[in-house]
C-alpha cells in the first residue's frame, strides 16, 4: 500500500501519454502499416490544433452554444434521503448535453480536426448508438458525409438511435459478424478506414484504439472534470472525496477523473458491466477476469482466452458491452490510482428505476451502473462523504429495452 502511494506521487498524470502513446506499459500504436501514416498525420495535426488559439476558440464556442456546456453539477438530495442520508451525492449532468450524452464533446473536437485536415467523409462505430448519434450530429452540423457501423445485435437493442442517425443524414451500416456488437463494429470501421483512409476520418468514440486516439479523446472529454472541479469547489468549498463513473471503453470516466488525478485526497471508482454475474462468465468486467493483450490497436486489459483469442461479452447496456478498455485505465488500475468494481444487469436496472423515481431523471443504462455502485455502497461510506457521479447519458434510448425486460420478467 505504502509502495503504491509512493509510486503515485511520482507519476505526473498530466504528462501522459508519452510520445509513443504509452501510459506506463499500456497503449501504443498496433496498426496495419496502411493506417500508420494517417495516424501520424492525425497526431501532428492535433498537436498543431492544440496550440492554435483559433481552434481552441472554435471548440469552446461550439461546446457552449451548440452542445450546451457547461453542464450543471446537480445535488441529488432526494436520492440521498432515499439511501438514508449523511453523504452528499452530486450528478455531473452530461445527460443534458445536446444529443443526450457526453459523446458529443469528443465528436465536435474530432470533426473540427477532420475539417482542418480537409477530410470530406466521416466514419464511426457505435455500440449503444450514442456515439453514432453524436457523430452523425456533428457531421450534419459541418456538412460532411457520414457512415456509421453498428452491430446487428445493438441495432435491435437501440432501434430508436438507428432512426435518429438516419434522420441526421447518416447511413447506418449493419455489422453481421462475430458477436454483432461494439467490437465487431470497430473491426468493420477500421476495415473501411484502411480502404478509404485518404479522404476519410475515423471518429473513434472512446479512449482506446491506436495512438493518438486515446490521447485525443481524453483531451476532448477532460472538459467534464475541469468543469466539475470548479463547480464542486464553488458549491462545497472543497474537493470531492469520491468520483464514480461507468467504464465501457472508458471515455466518460477518463473525462471526469483526469482533472483530479493529481489530487491525492480524491478517490475514484470505475464501474464495469458485471452482466449476469462474474461467476457466469457473461459480463464485460475486464479488470475482474481480463489480462493484458493487444486488441484493436492498443496494449491494454482485455477479456481473452489462454490462446489470446478475444472473448465475447455480455451486458444489458450496449455501451459497456466491450471486451477491451482504454490503455490509461489499465495503468490507473495497476498503479491503484483508480479502483474498479462491477455491477450486474439487475442492479443497474434497479438503479435505473430508483433514479427515475427519486430524482425525475431517467439515466442511460450505462450511467445506471455507476449509480448502482453508489446505491450499493452508500451506507458504508464515512458520514459527510462528498461524491460526484458522472451521469454520462440520459436513458430515453433505453426505455423500450427496459420495458421489454420488465414485461418478460412479469410473464
Amino acid at each position: 500500500m505504502s509502495d503504491n502511494k509512493h509510486k503515485q506521487k511520482k507519476i505526473r498524470w498530466k504528462s501522459l501519454p508519452d510520445k509513443r502513446g504509452y501510459y506506463g506499459r499500456f497503449g501504443g500504436l498496433y496498426a496495419p502499416e496502411t493506417l500508420v501514416p494517417a495516424l501520424n498525420e492525425l497526431e501532428e495535426e492535433y498537436r498543431k490544433a492544440k496550440k492554435d488559439p483559433e481552434f481552441k476558440r472554435q471548440f469552446q464556442e461550439t461546446l457552449s452554444k451548440y452542445v450546451g456546456r457547461p453542464t450543471p453539477l446537480y445535488r441529488a438530495e432526494r436520492l440521498e434521503k432515499y439511501l438514508g442520508g449523511g453523504r452528499k451525492i452530486y450528478f455531473k449532468r452530461e445527460d443534458l448535453c445536446h444529443t443526450g450524452a457526453h459523446k458529443i464533446n469528443n465528436c465536435i473536437g474530432q470533426i473540427l480536426l477532420a475539417v482542418r485536415m480537409g477530410k470530406k467523409r466521416i466514419i464511426a462505430e457505435t455500440g449503444a448508438g450514442q456515439h453514432g448519434v453524436a457523430t452523425a450530429t456533428a457531421a450534419a452540423r459541418y456538412g460532411l458525409q457520414c457512415d456509421i457501423y453498428m452491430g446487428k445485435e445493438d441495432m435491435k437493442r437501440q432501434e430508436l438511435n438507428v432512426f435518429r442517425m438516419e434522420l441526421l443524414g447518416a447511413r447506418v451500416i449493419t455489422v453481421d459478424a462475430g458477436s454483432r456488437t461494439l467490437k465487431d463494429a470497430i473491426n468493420e470501421a477500421a476495415r473501411d478506414w484502411v480502404t478509404n483512409v485518404e479522404n476519410t476520418h475515423y471518429v473513434l468514440g472512446t479512449v482506446t484504439g491506436f495512438h493518438p486516439f486515446p490521447m485525443i479523446v481524453q483531451d476532448f472529454q477532460s472538459v467534464i472534470g475541469k468543469e466539475a472541479k470548479k463547480q464542486i469547489v464553488s458549491a462545497e468549498r472543497r474537493l470531492p472525496d469520491l468520483l464514480v463513473a461507468c467504464v465501457g471503453g472508458g471515455s466518460n470516466s477518463i473525462g471526469l477523473f483526469h482533472a483530479f488525478l493529481e489530487d491525492s485526497s480524491v478517490s475514484m471508482v470505475g464501474v464495469e458491466a458485471g452482466g449476469k454475474g462474474i461467476q457466469t462468465g457473461l459480463h464485460a468486467a475486464r479488470f475482474a477476469e481480463g489480462s493484458p493483450g493487444v486488441f484493436q490497436g492498443t496494449l491494454s486489459y482485455v477479456l481473452q482466452d489462454k490462446e489470446g483469442q478475444i472473448k465475447t461479452t455480455h451486458s444489458v447496456s450496449a455501451g459497456l458491452d466491450y471486451s477491451g478498455v482504454g490503455p490509461e485505465h489499465s495503468f490507473l488500475f495497476e498503479t491503484g490510482r483508480v479502483k474498479y468494481d462491477s455491477v450486474c444487469d439487475d442492479e443497474a436496472l434497479q438503479a435505473f428505476r430508483i433514479l427515475s423515481e427519486t430524482e425525475g431523471i431517467i439515466p442511460a443504462l450505462e450511467s445506471s451502473h455507476a449509480a448502482a455502485y453508489i446505491i450499493r455502497c452508500y451506507k458504508n461510506l464515512p458520514e459527510g462523504t462528498l461524491c460526484i457521479l458522472n451521469l454520462s447519458g440520459r436513458g430515453d434510448k433505453d426505455v423500450r429495452a427496459v420495458k421489454d425486460i420488465i414485461k418478460s420478467e412479469e410473464s
Binding site: 502499416e33 496502411t34 500508420v36 462475430g178 477500421a190 476495415r191 486488441f295 489470446g308 478475444i310
Partner: protein
C-alpha cells in the same frame, strides 16, 4: 541473413519469379493444411504464408474472416499449429502471417523458441508496425526467424527506408489501401511503388492483396519478384467437399499461377 532470405535472394538473382500462396492454418482442419503444404511444395513455390486464425481480424476481408472462423471452430491454436509443423516437418519454407495478440499471449521469448523448433522461416505480424517492433525483431532474429514487414501505398519514402532497415527475408508490398480480398483489377500504382522500394533495398519484393488469378499474377510479376495470392485460394477451400477435392482444386489453381508468372 537467414535461410529464407538466402533462398529468395538466390531466386531473385536468377530472375526466377514465384508465387507465394496464403492459406489459413486449420481451415477447415490442420490435416488438410499439412496436405496443402506438401502440394505447394510440389508446385514449386518458394514459400508459403500460413495464416494464424484470430477472433478479430481487422485487416482482413470477408473471405479470410470466414476462414479464420472455420479454423477457430476446428480448434486451431497457434501452439497447435507450431506443434504440428514440428512433427510433420513440411519441406516448403513457412512464413507465419498473424495478428500480434496470439504471439503476445505466449510471450515473445517463448514464442520464438517454439517457432524455431517448428522450423518457421519467417513471420509477418499484420498489426505490428516498425514503431512497436524493436524487441520483437531482436528476439526473432536471435532465433533465426526472418521478420517481414508490410509496405503500403500510404507509406512515405522515409518509412520505407525505416521498414527495409528493420525487416529481413523479403518486403511485402501491399498493392492497394484496403483489406485482404479478391479484386478484379491491379492498380496502376503497383509499378511505381515497387520502384520506390527498389531504391532503398536489394531484398526481394513480394506484392499481394487482391490478386485473384493467373492474369493478374502475371501482370504483377512483371515488376515484383514474388506474387502473394491469398483469398483466391482460400475461396477454393471454402467451396468444401472432401480433403481430396479441396487439395485437387488448390493444386490445379496453384499450377496455373506458377505457370503464369514464369
Amino acid at each position: 541473413m537467414n535461410r529464407l532470405e538466402v533462398h529468395l535472394k538466390a531466386l531473385k538473382k536468377q530472375g526466377v519469379k514465384g508465387v507465394i500462396p496464403y492459406i489459413t492454418a486449420g481451415d477447415p482442419c490442420l490435416d488438410t493444411t499439412m496436405k496443402l503444404l506438401n502440394i505447394f511444395k510440389e508446385c514449386g513455390v518458394p514459400a508459403v504464408e500460413l495464416g494464424v486464425p484470430f477472433s478479430d481480424p481487422l485487416a482482413d476481408g470477408v473471405v479470410n474472416q470466414r476462414a479464420a472462423e472455420r479454423a477457430l471452430k476446428s480448434g486451431t491454436t497457434l501452439r497447435g499449429i507450431l506443434e504440428r509443423l514440428e512433427n510433420d516437418k513440411p519441406e516448403v519454407p513457412v512464413i507465419l502471417f498473424t495478428y500480434y495478440n496470439p504471439v503476445f499471449k505466449i510471450g515473445l521469448d517463448q514464442f520464438a523458441v517454439i517457432a524455431k523448433k517448428a522450423g518457421i522461416s519467417g513471420i509477418l505480424t499484420l498489426d505490428l508496425p516498425v514503431e512497436e517492433a524493436d524487441e520483437y525483431v531482436r528476439i526473432m532474429k536471435k532465433n533465426m526467424i526472418d521478420v517481414i514487414f508490410l509496405i503500403a501505398p500510404t507509406s512515405t519514402q522515409e518509412r520505407i527506408k525505416r521498414i527495409v532497415g528493420l525487416g529481413s527475408g523479403f518486403v511485402y508490398c501491399v498493392s492497394r489501401t484496403g483489406v485482404t480480398g479478391v479484386r478484379s483489377d491491379v492498380p496502376g500504382t503497383v509499378v511505381p511503388m515497387v520502384e520506390k522500394i527498389r531504391v532503398e533495398t536489394d531484398m526481394p519484393i513480394a506484392v499481394g492483396f487482391g490478386i485473384s488469378g493467373p492474369q493478374q499474377a502475371k501482370k504483377v510479376a512483371q515488376s515484383a519478384d514474388f506474387v502473394v495470392v491469398g483469398s483466391a485460394i482460400v475461396r477454393l477451400i471454402e467451396q468444401g467437399g472432401s480433403s481430396l477435392d479441396i487439395c485437387q482444386r488448390v493444386e490445379d489453381f496453384t499450377k496455373e499461377l506458377v505457370r503464369a508468372v514464369k
